[in-house]
Subunit: 435 residues, 2 copies
Amino acid sequence: MTSAPTSPLTDPWPKSPVLQTAYRARVAATDLAPLPRAAKDDALLAMADALEVRTKEIVEANAADVARAREAGTSEAIIDRLTLTPERVRAIASDVRDVVALPDPVGEVVRGSTLPNGIDLRQVRVPLGVVGIIYEARPNVTVDAAALCLKSGNAVLLRGSSSAYHSNTALVKVLRDAVGGSGLPADAVQLVPGEGRDSVAELMRARGLVDVLIPRGGASLIRAVVEQSTVPVIETGTGNCHVYVDAQADLDMAVEILVNSKAQRPSVCNAAETLLVHQDIAAAFLPRALDALAEAGVTVHGDERVVALAEQLEGSKATVVPAVVEDWETEYLSYDIAAAVVDSLDAAVAHIRLWSSGHTEAIVTTSQMAARRFTQLVDSTTVAVNASTRFTDGGQFGFGAEIGISTQKLHARGPMGLPELTSTKYIVTGDGHTR
Amino acid sequence: MTSAPTSPLTDPWPKSPVLQTAYRARVAATDLAPLPRAAKDDALLAMADALEVRTKEIVEANAADVARAREAGTSEAIIDRLTLTPERVRAIASDVRDVVALPDPVGEVVRGSTLPNGIDLRQVRVPLGVVGIIYEARPNVTVDAAALCLKSGNAVLLRGSSSAYHSNTALVKVLRDAVGGSGLPADAVQLVPGEGRDSVAELMRARGLVDVLIPRGGASLIRAVVEQSTVPVIETGTGNCHVYVDAQADLDMAVEILVNSKAQRPSVCNAAETLLVHQDIAAAFLPRALDALAEAGVTVHGDERVVALAEQLEGSKATVVPAVVEDWETEYLSYDIAAAVVDSLDAAVAHIRLWSSGHTEAIVTTSQMAARRFTQLVDSTTVAVNASTRFTDGGQFGFGAEIGISTQKLHARGPMGLPELTSTKYIVTGDGHTR
């Protein structure tokens, strides 16, 4: 015979540091969930202020990571992403203030009606609970993720790269002090202890304590999490994006969109990786496109028809090499693009279905029918008509912030803002209704 | 050097029967996705008609399953669920016609705006693609799931219980003939081949071919799928639902809601399994509640205070046995209920947090403050105020149909209707916009 326990925390208290951290996050999440916007915004403002006031200790901690990275011979591009300067810390604090200005998704009534029997039904947004983020060596993600999760009433478990260990430790200390100082539970923001793969593995099995895992970064990490996690996962990131130039297209527009999609910032997931050109326009478009790509420093990995056409060009600066099968599925993230001539719009769609990662595909066309068919048939997070693939972005979409870009179909698809960090619950209100 | 392939079906064609089935489903899903409502509704009407016209062969096939179940000594309750009569087949056909009347979720614009740069942004619903349903020996689910998936533009992979093998084979044959006859791909509706656990295991690893798995039925099956699947899963079902009677409550209403929640249909997931009573109202409420539960044939598994109170009752027919720890977490699905006296509303919430499966919890109260606090603090798919737990149901909620009740937070939570069988995509339309 047992009385009903009155606290979820009496027993059992887990032994492992990772699970203890997750447990503390769950307790914090329970406290966060019913908080009104004002309380959360106060904490966010305190976070932003603290980042600015304590910039020195953050930059010093970061210097240790940068020094270690240099010793390890890390590439300059990655060191640049890792580095925090006082200006960058100010910019990060400013991003937190932008989150303050966003509406609180929690409490939003998604659906509501009075049922025929008089019951009032409301579906309202609630926090997910505990959100785990596994990410690469970008210290700004530490703060972004903490701010977005706090705003949406979630406790966050941050598992950054070990190469940013000192930076993340310093940042999280500053954030926790600010959150605690404003009267909210400091455990709303926690680093996952441990640097090895083991702690990630524990996190992936913490079903019941962790509500969702969002892996960001390398394809191998994301695949490992998807395959091994019993905690629900939101897959992010890989972008093998296509630009299709239709038989009827404004050539100037097509060149501009192509070059912008490929070369404006090649290292990001919404950059274009493959060009598909309708055969009817290939002879008119490709010479200009190849020149423009060459001018932007882009190497073209062309199929037989692209290579044949390039070989006929006189005085062209085009850099065209023959494509191999792997080119069609490669996310270069560099000044490279695969290119093929296709027989029809439907052939372009078939190519995209076969090879695309389902991130973003663009069509350039003056034909209403082609635009409509392409948007109907292509099943990616985003289909762009006469616009660059580079617009697939939470900031560009007006979401104000982004926790990642989901390339899966469940829960969230495309750029994820604050609403995507929530679930819902139904509230059923009656006057003693029974069935 | 390679030309771009133009069909996703040229290579590789998988060897295993399960994966071949999934592959055919993916092809069918591609054809279904852009279909307008009228084409899908025509196929649904053809399905309903075919079920009625071919009732005889369905009932005969079912008789073989029923005979085999009887030989195996299956319980009458399960045999009843398995059995198809001409009347039941007509009712199933009628359910399909109800689905015809529901709006098509595909194409619904969920969000839309013109961005500051003039780009038009639209988020529209699209089918998930290939939906796998793993379910128990209820042949009506075979038809329900096929109808709901077809209406929402999805291809369905049906993995029913082997004890309903002949019934499901006959039903799917009828449905496929109807779908194919109306000009849609018959492979929109398929049984997963094989009867053993191996074929379920293959389905769970068919990531990329199957977009979501929805396991229905026993807790052990659902746990196995959640733990082993690399395909995203929507967890359904377990309902350890609570009724909390607050310090201030209409006693008549409380008794009615309690008995209805527990005893109107004890075998379903939205039936109540635990009663929590505020200590201030226990002496007034429990004698009436225990009598009413006894009259409904319910055995009460009481904590110390409930047992002590029951022992003081004279002339009561109450059936009260001492509760053990397991009672707080048990989904009886029978004429049993756990019962405890709690010190406060917050203690009730703490008990629910610790033990509930997060399905449905009801509060009976006349206090606005108590109702508000309970709905804020309880984090389950559904919180009922002065209403029976039995209302958590797609039909009751006005969704017209239900593919299951999700008890997870990601993607869908609570009763899942047609919109929950969709994902979304963004359509970005510009006039040559670049960044």
